[in-house]
Assembly symmetry: C2
Homo-oligomer: 381 residues x 2
């Protein structure tokens, strides 16, 4: 069954009508995944969806049977009727409803090659692509969670919290574990709790590796419990919806710089959470956090947070306003709204003293927010 | 360190020069992964690479430190010098070497939006995109494995074979296991053997689900050992390189149709392997297999095989020649060459009797091929 509500679908189609768009193409394939296909059609994988401005939906799936079982659309095209060519099936579906002259909107992630191929086969079609267009309209719908989605996310966060609680006993029993052992422990336990899978590769970084921005590999064969600042960043998929937390781990006594890093991250984490309410601007909260960190001489090399849902990184983003004029042109400010679910994950890195990050998942409420996860710094002797 | 050899890089650059291309853009980001970045630069993740026709390489990484540690390129641009804007860094790197008028080639997977944005900022630049162009040249380099790559793939296949051998004792000890338990067992054991991670989500399908083409979920909470045809499709990543096998599993006594499916799949599997040698055409081997299956009234709903390496699906593909004229225009025939590594995975599905697939990984040798994995039908009482 599709996830989008009738009301939200109407709003999405209104955004098409307002901009004279006749049809939108949404694709989800191995090379470029896009959960909006699932959101709009119910089919979780491997298909193209044409969404017409009148709300009509035509699906071209790779697997007809799976689509028959899971999709909620007006029309399913059999790929075998079109020599397994999406181009051919798409051309049929479009021309039979719209003829040759129409406006097609594509998402910014569509492939340059396929879009130019399309233009060649429909030379009279007008193709538009705008980050403030349909992609934004769909993202806006997805980022305000319905109550049934919030129920699922709450369940996933509860399971995530159970995993956080398993960390201290595991470390006590396995003081010599390697990063990979610890990551595998969490990924195994989350499945035992009923999660579908990890939301992303579990990142475990000891004191030697915690200052890295992109840990590669995500978990190494080094021992986890080196003295200093370590962290684990993990999440799970629960009934299609992701969670994402980072737990700071402190091994042994910290030096004053490390203690300041831990304390300041906790402080800006709490500060950010205190600022969350409908109408607050995402980039202003991020800016306030960055200012506090800067005043302490600390550096945060990533953004303050990101939406979670069908994907582990979705809208809203909690980054700074871009300074580059080209990026600024595509940027839009994000007032927080009730029903948004996103991470708050301030962190700092220092090449000498390591890095730390505290990440929790929050739900925007009508008068503030609810923190759904229970990540906090864990201390080990 | 980059993987591409000097000789192969020269061949790739020659293909640029031959087609008057000045520079190629290769990107690898979360939304659209592309291991060619790692292949050409050594950096496994999150960067843009500009490859100039004279062989000069300029890298714009997200994480400067990681790039400093892992990349082998002529030039690394610091993203912080460009307000973390790839567009800005790319514009600088291009204009400083080529001015405003040049020919840029992009891969077919590049985003339509970014390419059109680029064209706006470099209106005098000529942009080309051709599936038979640079993407094919890089794929050709990647698909012929060097001896150090083959050594790694052999190791990965040995570990995969150890996992196959663990299946019978596991099933004997866990006759009531669910699909998810079995999948988790394999994914846990592969890490204990030292694999980086699963190459893809392990697919476990019991007799009820084995006829599905795309199993969703990949492993369910149904019991695995239902009477009939089941299968498990799994692979691991070993030092960056993937393996991929499917093991047919037979529970109880088969009916004559199921027995014919198992026997015929084994027969076409062996037939395909007997045809592999340098110069053999991939689509002709696939065609021969399909013809045998058709003569038995059986249907194979996917292609006969695909290359493996840094990605689990890479060149060469072992599909049929497309019949749709648009796809045919982009298609090229693939003569097999020594050093190619790919899967042979014939399978058949029947909505009434289930499905089966036998998949092994093979290496093309100068006079035939070597089968690197030991997948075979496993029978359980």
């Amino acid at each position: 069954m599709r996830i989008v509500t009738q009301k939200k679908l109407h709003t999405i189609c209104q955004s098409m009508t307002d901009r004279s768009v006749d049809v939108v193409l949404v694709t989800d394939f191995e090379r470029t995944r896009n959960a909006s296909l699932r959101y709009l059609s119910g089919l979780p994988t491997d298909a193209e969806l044409l969404l017409f401005a009148d709300g009509h939906t035509a699906l071209i799936p790779w697997d007809l049977e799976l689509a028959g079982n899971l999709a909620e659309v007006d029309e399913i095209l059999n790929p075998l009727d079109f020599e397994r060519s999406y181009r051919k099936a798409r051309a049929y579906a479009l021309s039979s409803r719209l003829g040759q002259k129409f406006t097609l909107e594509v998402l910014t992630i569509e492939s340059y090659f396929e879009v130019t191929k399309f233009q060649e086969s429909f030379p009279k079609a007008n193709i538009i692509c705008d980050p403030k267009g349909i992609g934004y309209a769909i993202s806006k719908a997805r980022r305000i969670k319905e109550s049934f989605e919030i129920d699922i996310i709450r369940e996933g966060c509860q399971k995530t919290n159970q995993l956080i609680d398993m960390i201290p006993p595991y470390i006590k029993e396995h003081p010599d574990c390697r990063e990979v052992d610890f990551a595998l422990f969490l990924e195994t336990e989350m499945r035992k709790l009923g999660a579908e899978k990890p939301a992303f590769e579990t990142l475990a970084a000891n004191a030697n590796r915690s200052a890295q921005i992109h840990n590669y590999p995500t978990a190494s064969t080094e021992p986890l419990a080196k003295p200093g600042l370590a962290l684990v960043d993990f999440g799970l998929v629960w009934k299609g919806y992701t969670t994402d937390v980072t737990v700071p781990m402190i091994f042994g006594k910290l030096n004053p710089t490390q203690q300041k890093m831990i304390d300041t991250v906790q402080r800006v984490h709490d500060l950010a959470i205190s600022r969350i309410k409908p109408g607050a601007l995402a980039h202003e909260i991020a800016g306030e956090v960055i200012d506090v960190l800067k005043s302490q001489g600390l550096t945060m090399p990533y953004s303050l947070g990101h939406g979670i849902g069908l994907e582990v990184h979705e809208g809203p983003g909690l980054g700074l306003k871009p300074t580059d004029s080209s990026l600024l042109k595509d940027w839009m400010e994000t007032p927080l709204e009730e029903g948004m679910v996103f991470t708050i994950e301030p962190g700092v890195v220092d090449s000498q003293h390591g890095g730390t990050r505290l990440e929790n998942d929050v739900l925007v409420m009508n008068d503030g927010c609810e923190v759904l996860t229970t990540s906090r710094a864990l201390r080990f002797p």
